[in-house]
Structures are given as C-alpha cells and as structure tokens.
Symmetry: C3
C-alpha cells in the first residue's frame, strides 16, 4: 500500500476526466462513509453524493460534477463502481505465493503438478490428479483421484474436491466448500433406504467463482455442471445432475434440487429453492426466498412460494397485508345485506 | 471401467427378463439423455420412455416392453431405478484405499486404531479415540478425544468430529461437516449473553448417511441422536439435544431447533424449519419450505409457514393467488349493495 | 467426572437454599428426562416440574418447592437454568490442551505466536499473523497473512481465517467456518461478470461466538464487523461490509446481505434474511423465516416475507388460513345480493 498516484494519473488509468485539482495525491481506496484524506472513493447515485459531500475523501469517482462536490477532486467516468473496482485492484493487488510444492503438502506420486502451481503445506493431491499452471491450492485443500484443476484456478483453505471432478481455468473456490460429494439418492423400501451409488462427476467450467461452504454434488452418473463464468455465493446446494448455464448468478443459501437445468444468465436471489427435474430458461430471474415448483420460461421473473410471476406476486402483497380489513369488510357487507333482506321480507308482509 | 457384460448377463444379475438381443455388450451405465452405444440406462415412466426412444443407449431397464422401444435391447424388471442402482455399483465399484495409518496422519498414542482402518495423511485422531475396522478417515478429518467411529464408516475430507461423539457402523459423513460442535445456548442478562457449557455428545447410529457442510451439535448434557438408517442431505442444522428416529429422510438446508424429537420414517423437505421442543410423530411428512411451530401427529402431512395440514395449505393457494380479484369482487359487491340501500331508502321517502 | 458434591455444597456454590436432604451426594448433571440416581437436573417451569416428578434425579434446581417434588432434594434458586449452567461447568470442566506449537503445525517464520498459545498439528499460520496468549488453534485451522487472533480465543478444527482478519479476545469459532472469504461483488456487462476485488477485512470483537459452517465475508474495502459479545449460530451468511452491533443474537441459516447495519441487542430468528444496505435498529427482533426488505426501527418486532410488524403478521394468519371460507362467504353474498337485485327489479315492473 505504498503506492502513490495523483488524481490525474488515476483518471488516465480509468479513462475519466478530472474536475478540480488533479495534483492531489491518493494512496488508497476506501468505502464512501469511511474515506479520509489521501483516499479515493466513488458515488454512483444521488444518495451517495450526499454522503460524499459530508465526508473527507480526497477524491471521488462520479458520473457528473455537482455543486455539492465542488470541494473535492473529481474523476468523471461513465461507471464509477467499475472504475472503483479497477482502483481497488491497483492499490491493493492480490498477493503472490511462491510456486512449487511445499514440503508439508501430500502429493501422490501418480499426480501431475505443473511447475508453476503452488501446492501449500497441508494440501493433499491424490493419484492421477492433474494440477494446472498457476494454480494455488491452500492448506487443507483435498484433490481426489483423477480430478483436474485448470490453469490459474485458486482453491482456498479446506476446499474438498472429490475424485474425477473437472475444474476449468481461472476458477475460484472459497473456503470450506465441497465439490463432488455424493448426491442424495436412495431407493426406499420396507427395510429402509438403500444408497444409489453416486459415480458421476462435477464439471466446473472456466471463470466460475464459488463461495464458501457451498456444496456441488457429483452426478449419479453423467455430470453436474456449472457453466462458464457463473458466480455462486455462499451456502449454496447444487444437487446431483444439475446443469447450470453460463454467466448465471446465484445468491446465498439457494438450493437447486436434482437434475434441474438452469439456463444462461439466470439470476437466483438468496434463500430461494428450485425443485428437481425442472427447466429454468435463459435470462430468467427468481426472486429471493422463492420456491420454484414448475418450469420457468426464458426471461420470466418469478417470486413467492410456490412461485408465480413476480408482478402477480407483488400485486397480491398489499391485499394479503390487509386481509383482516378485507374480512371485516365482508362481515360488514353480510350484516348490511341481511338487514336489507329482512327489510324486504318485512315489506312483503 | 473395463468390465464388459452382455445384456443377458446383466438381466441375470438384476433378476430381469431380456426382450430383444441379449448378446449386446454393455460396458457402462449412463444417464438416459446422455447414454450412447455400449451403455445401459433406465426408463421408469412414460416420459422417460419417450426420451429413451430418441436416444442411442444400447440397452434399457424398463418395467414393460413397448412399441417405442422395439429397437433396443430391454431388460424388464419391476423396479428399473433399483436395478440401475445395482448396475452402477457393478460397472463403477467404489475404489479401495490401502488400510493403515499414513505417515502423514497425526494419531495420538492414546488412540486405538483397528488394523484394517485407513487413516490418511493429514487426518488427526486425538487421545482416547477408537477407530473401527474398515473405517476410512480422509485427509483433514479431525477425531476428538474419546470419540468412537464404528466399523466400516467413511469420513470424507475435512469432517470434524468433536470429543466424545459416538458414530455407529457403516456411517458415511461427507466433506466439511461438523459433528459435535457446541449447541447454541446462553443465559441472557443485562451484561450480555453467558454461555451455557455444552458438554453432552452426539450419537449417530448405524447406517446413517450425512451430507456435506452439515452441522450436528452436541447436547448441552445428554445426547443429540441421529437414528439408525436415517439420511441427511447437505447444509442441515441439527441443534443440541435433538433426537431423530430411524430411517428418516431430511433434505438440504433443513433446521431442527433444540430438544425437538423427530420420529421414525419422517420425511422433511428442503429448507424447512422446525422450532425447538416439539414432537414430530413417526411417518410424518413436512413439506419443503415449511415452518413447523407445533407438534405434528404420526403420519400427518404439513406445509406452509406456520405449518398447517398440507391439504389445507394446498386449498388456500388458489385463493391466495387471486386475492386482488377477491378484493375487487368485494368492492364491487359493496357498490352494488350501497346502490340497493340507496334505492330502498329513496322508495321509502 | 469423579467429582462428588453434596446437595448442600452445590447449594452454596449456586447461592441457593436446600429443601429436603442436603446430604445427598451428586456426581453429575443430566437432562431432566434422563437424569437418574446421583444426578442433578433443573425444572424451571410447571411442565418441567411434572416431568421431574416422574423422573429419578437425585436433586433438582427449582424456583420454589412444590408438593409434586416432595420426594426430591431441592435447591431453590431464582434462575434454575443459570444455576444448572454453572453446575455443568463444575461437573464437566473444559479440557485443557498443552500449550505450544505442535511439531506437525505449519507456522511461518514471520508469524508471532504467544508462548501460551496452543497451535496443534495440521494448523497453518501464515506470515505476519499474530496469535495471542491462551489461544487454541485446532488441526485444520488456517490463519492467513497478518491476521490477528486475540488472547484466549479458540478456533475449532478446519476453521479458515483469511488474510488481514482481526479477531478479538475470548472469541470462539466452531468447526468448518470461513472468516474473511471474498464478498460477492461483480460488475455485470455484456461479456459476463467482472469480479470486484475484495480487499477489506473482517473484524470480530471480543467475546463473540460463531457457530459451525458459518461464513463472514471480508469487506470490499473497509471492514465487516461482528460486535462485542454477539452470538451467531450455524450456517449463517454475513456478507461484505455488514456491521453487527454488540450483544446481538443470530440463529441458524440467517443471511445478512451486503452493507447492512444491524444494531446492538438485535435478535434474528432462524432462516430469516435481510437484504442489503438496510438499517436494523438496536433491540429489534426479526422473527424466524422473515424476509426483511426495509429498515427496521429500534425495538421493532417484524415477521413475514416481506416483513411487516409481527403483531400485524400474526393478525393476518387466521384470516389467511380461512381464505377458502372467505371466498365462499363472498360468493354466497354475491348470490344473495343478485337475488335481491332481481327481486327489486321484478317489483319495479
């Protein structure tokens, strides 16, 4: 963090325009509400601009100049958040580890480890496994027999990769995640549940990132697949034989049950669940907390449990929240109607 | 996977009847939609038969012959899925590990390890622990003081078993699961929350299988119990002093709160929750996503949050989904009633 | 567990009053329903007193004497549960480990480990890390670069602490938990999702306890904070830049999304979720299973999904459960109204 850059230099890096003093020296990035002298932050919307104007950052990445920020050095960019992400990488680069197989690692003679891979102490690599160039295996990582880890992938501490799993290049897997554990399959009979052997694999394509404490179960036979560039948050359950397309986003605690197919560019909100053997179309959006029990068409947005079109779900909520009032209204109508009926009956007599 | 078997040989193994050419050679099992030449799959229902008829499997396990499958070698069996499970085990047997204590394992002098047990490198076994015959402890497994692991049990990488836990025979525990961590118990007062020491144990009976990233907390005092033959999926929380009966099935992300008793043969769907100190009777079924806040009778089927009988819950859903229409209907009734009232009033005058 | 104490001695320890025979010898604590001769348990309410009266404990901690318990030695105390917690600690003290760095531990030369710390075999401590006095690091624990673990903290097996994390004194972290993994942040564009580098830290204050299989993600920049004395159950997700105040209680499977601030003394029930960038006020209570989508005022109690005041939610439930009946009532009103309308029309003619 000894890097020093002027606002003008930073503007050149992110392709932005300086407003104010470009000679101000910046030495770190910081969150908007905590940024102080010598630090740069970003303000992408009006609310943030208000927070920024009260703060003491030395510089700000913003979309446009404004009265409220006249005291700050500004860098105008079309996407302040993206520019800020670039500066995080600049001021706080990822730290290297020395390549090679640590003395304390346990690597089987039958495994193939690229010379530029880092296998730290307390990592284990089994027979037939192949570890690509630039891979980092942290302590506590387990790589099962014949598993393949593509170039430049990083497996954080205590990640388990069971036998036969295939992991692409540039994949990141966070701590304590399990790849390739047995799927949940039994034949139930009068004497209990007999295990269906789970002997398929998990295939994780390039540029996937998987959070901490996630489980991706191996297929019964065949493959469980996480498609290229998809991103999974923490505590997610991907059951056996699930296929997830490219560039999908899945938020924490989501559960996808067995053999379901998720398309490309799908977004699934936190704590949602999808039952087995469904098709979720490309670009579908599943709201947080939803329980999906039937196929979702491409581009469809669903929510609720069981899930329905999200717009419909949103229209239901205000009525749901006034159910006691609706019930009273109906009771009152009933009374008024009874009075009318009585009256008419009386008039008849 | 060099095993070669004719369809007739396979039929003999699974106790089925050949329809078509029994001499066809099979070399592997495959999922229905991916099976190709030389592979056998299964089709247990009409939908699957349709998929099969378009596929290129060499043979199929089915309940009965059909026009659509006249081009395939068939094996007729009463339960195609069970027969397929048997063939998975045949073509893809589980792989052995050499028994013995690896040089890289850390086993306390006071631990007892059976000669036929496999303790891999990077596994740790503490003082007083007893490891049974045929047990496999993968790298990263931790066995606490005085814990006992019954014969033929398999603990996958990075499983933690805290002190005093008792695990039966034939138990399977998948990666990154925690057995015997402290229960969540505090005495709350004006100065914060004081920990109630958690000094009971976990007891897991024979033939239980537990998924990855599961937590089974130790009892405060006494035991947390998972009954014989029960099967737990991934990401499940079993709190302190919970007792689960034999042959129950619990799906992913389920949470069972403290001191609740679950009967035998209970099925609990994914992401459901059960509050503490309840009794869930034998054979009860709790639907996915349910929130159970009161006792469930034996054989009862409940769903919803808070849970109610599932049939009742199912009857509510169509009305719930039409709440905006119901509200409109009520508003319209109100208008019509007001008009009638006005009319009657006018006539009176 | 060879400790023997008379009921009178135990009464002196917990500050209670003996009723019955104080000379009875007690050798262990036990759960009420399992306690037998020589054991003491507690009965804090009427239901428990009934259970106790049928049991065979030798002594009981209770609030007041009662007819039903005349056969037992009693200790009267104002808080039987708290007194029982004290006796658990007495009869079943926590077991010590010998301090020092085990031969099988992997500690970087640039790390600082206090002489009174216990670093067990198969634990890893990276460059620049600082391990305080009395700390216990179990096997499989990973401590990243420059991370700091305060005095007397205990990290259970397979806990991962990523670089830069700061952990206070007296903190307990249970097995397979991940502290400081990357937050879930991307810039999405036409070519996929670009990772926002996550280079902030996690700070865990003194006396915090964190369950098993929990994830506390590092901040993007700045800090993710768990406040002093807060207690987290298992399977919880704390996203990047979340701040949790002191003495809050969070139950299993809860998810707190990015940048949300939780106040002091907040209680969040199991499987609840809180979306990002919200403020949850001091002393607020979020019911189990709730989905919080807007700020919660200090002391407010909310439930439901999306969450509303819990009292309001409770009033909705009985109407919700009778929706089919409400619909029938409305249909019946409609028919009666139509008949009236017809009648009036007929009379007019």
């Amino acid at each position: 963090m000894a890097l020093l850059k002027t606002v003008s230099e930073l503007a050149a890096i992110v392709g932005g325009e300086v407003v104010g003093d470009g000679r101000v020296v910046i030495m770190d990035v910081a969150p908007l509400s905590e940024a102080s002298s010598g630090e740069i932050s970003f303000a992408a919307d009006k609310k943030s601009v208000n927070v920024a104007s009260d703060g003491s950052a030395s510089a700000l990445l913003v979309k446009e100049k404004s009265e409220a920020l006249s005291a700050f050095s500004l860098i105008l960019v079309s996407d302040p958040k993206a520019a800020f992400a670039e500066l995080i990488g600049l001021f706080r680069p990822s730290e290297a580890f020395e390549p090679g197989i640590s003395e304390g690692a346990v690597v089987h003679d039958g495994a193939t480890v690229s010379p530029g891979a880092t296998v730290m102490a307390l990592a284990a690599v089994e027979d037939g496994a192949v570890i690509g160039e630039g891979v980092i295996l942290y302590p506590g990582v387990y790589i099962g027999r014949r598993a393949r880890i593509g170039d430049a992938s990083v497996l954080h501490p205590n990640v388990t990769v069971m036998d036969g799993s295939v992991i692409g290049t540039g994949v990141i897997i966070h701590a304590n995640t399990s790849i390739g554990s047995d799927g949940f399959g039994y034949i139930s009979g009068p004497e209990g549940h007999t295990k269906v052997p789970q002997r398929g694999i998990v295939r994780i394509e390039d540029d996937v990132e998987i959070g901490a404490c996630v489980t991706v179960d191996r297929a019964t036979v065949g493959e469980t697949v996480i498609g290229k560039g998809s991103k999974l948050d923490n505590h997610i359950q991907i059951a056996h034989n699930v296929k997830i397309g490219a560039h999908s986003i899945i938020v924490d605690h989501v559960a996808i049950a067995g053999s379901t197919t998720i398309g490309q560019g799908v977004v699934i909100g936190g704590q949602a669940g999808v039952v087995g053997h469904l098709n979720i179309g490309d670009g579908a959006v599943i709201a947080a907390g939803a329980g999906v029990t039937s196929d979702v068409a491409p581009g469809e947005v669903v929510g609720g449990f069981p899930s329905i079109p999200q717009m419909k779900w949103l229209r239901i909520q205000p009525v749901y929240r006034k159910l006691p009032e609706l019930k009273k209204q109906v009771s009152s109508l009933e009374k008024r109607l009874a009075m009318l009926e009585e009256k008419l009956l009386a008039e008849k007599d």
